[in-house]
């Protein structure tokens, strides 16, 4: 039986409105799109202000951690981006954010993205699987070397071609998985429309 819950009707309307774009752009989709952007921006403001109060302002007042004023001031400096004359003040907040972000991103990359991956490439060379992976890693990496001219001549050229085909097979596999992802996502919406909204199945 068709649902009497107003929330489900609202959800069904937005599901159909958002899907309608695949057929043609239309006012219902535009309405849905602007609603989505507005919701996302609105709840992120509410969320961040709540976190600011819980993580920053309340501990500052209750526990006397007045050093929390430093990140608050740095955060406020970012708004000087809107001033033509004092735009440079925004660099302080941005510099702190960039330094902290880059430092965090950089520190483990060498170990996890390079050393551990290299070890996993060369250690299992006692099996056919390990040898195939080793060949594909070397040839795949060679394919992306554009700065050394030697790579364009034999025997490296053959290796780069092997690498290219290996990458194409991998991309094909990735496409296969992407098909499953998108279908699975929309499947959830179909189940909602047919079962939860229209009540056509139990």
């Amino acid at each position: 039986m068709i649902s009497a819950d107003p929330g489900i009707w609202i959800a069904a309307f937005f599901t159909i409105a958002a899907t309608s774009y695949v057929f043609r752009d239309n006012p219902a989709f535009k309405f849905a799109e602007h609603t989505f952007v507005g919701c996302a921006a609105g709840y992120s403001v509410a969320w961040n202000l709540t976190q600011l109060q819980r993580v920053g302002l309340t501990p500052m007042m209750e526990r006397g951690i007045y050093t929390y004023l430093i990140p608050i001031v740095l955060g406020l400096t970012v708004y000087f981006q809107y001033s033509t004359e004092y735009r440079w003040i925004a660099r302080y907040g941005v510099a702190f954010m960039m330094g902290q972000g880059i430092g965090m991103a950089l520190r483990a990359k060498m170990r996890e993205d390079f050393i551990m991956q290299l070890r996993a490439t060369v250690t299992p060379l006692d099996s056919a699987l390990g040898i195939v992976i080793f060949i594909l890693v070397i040839t795949g990496a060679l394919h992306f070397v554009f700065t050394v001219k030697r790579v364009e001549s034999e025997p490296f050229r053959t290796l780069t071609i092997i690498g290219r085909y290996g990458i194409l097979v991998a991309l094909g596999a990735s496409f296969g998985n992407t098909v499953m992802t998108r279908l699975g996502q929309y499947q959830g919406r179909m189940i909602f429309l047919i079962r939860d909204w229209l009540g056509l199945v139990a």
Partner: protein, 210 residues
């Protein structure tokens, strides 16, 4: 003096804070770890103070409403209303309240889920129009996609388990090998860019020079 304040000191801040993060990973020194924890807490608080995205949205759509852009201004007005509604109600009711959850579950979730999922249709037309065997490379790509889709579809492994084995073998060999090669490149590129930014060679984030 003012020239030092405008660029060199912010670059120094980037370097000092960045190096603190990096050094904490390699050295277990209590004072270093304590400073690192403090910087992380400050970063969380700083993040919660920055609303540039929302402000830019309000400026852009606000201008459209003021100018009464034909065919657009009422959508922009609605967007501004939604931002205000979600922001104010989130603060008044609380972002963890049942009422707010109702708004998220019945408006944001169906919209978000459907917007992402609609790509399924574009993939269908892409599969039909673009996935053609024009040469050896595209043939291999198509064959691989075909075998993986068959392996992912429960219908086929249910008839013969070999389909799942083929799919897993493609992932365990070609995907691991090729994506690892890509990951090396991305990793090295990331490290190089990070070091350049920390030492002040990449200053795009600082904006235009005065």
């Amino acid at each position: 003096m003012s020239e030092i304040l405008k660029r060199p000191i912010p670059l120094l801040i980037t370097f000092v804070v960045g190096m603190l993060m990096v050094l904490e990973y390699f050295f277990t020194v209590p004072a270093l770890t304590a400073t690192y924890d403090t910087v992380n807490t400050w970063r969380v608080i700083l993040y919660a103070c920055v609303y540039l995205g929302t402000i830019n949205l309000l400026l852009l759509h606000g201008r459209r409403v003021m100018r009464r852009d034909p065919g657009q201004w009422y959508y922009s007005a609605w967007l501004i209303v939604m931002i205000a509604a979600y922001a104010v109600l989130g603060l008044v009711w609380g972002v963890d309240s049942m009422n707010y959850r109702w708004m998220i579950d019945n408006v944001d979730v169906p919209l978000g889920a459907t917007m992402y999922a609609s790509l399924a249709f574009y993939m269908a037309s892409g599969a039909y129009r673009v996935m053609k065997v024009r040469n050896l490379g595209t043939g291999l790509l198509l064959l691989s996609a075909f075998l993986v889709i068959i392996g992912n579809t429960p219908l086929f492994p249910a008839t013969w388990e070999g389909f799942a084995t083929i799919r897993n073998t493609i992932f365990d060999t070609f995907v691991v090998g090729s994506y690892r090669a890509i990951r090396f490149g991305v990793g090295l590129g990331g490290i190089a860019l990070g070091i350049r930014t920390l030492v002040g060679l990449e200053t795009g984030y600082m904006g235009r020079r005065e």
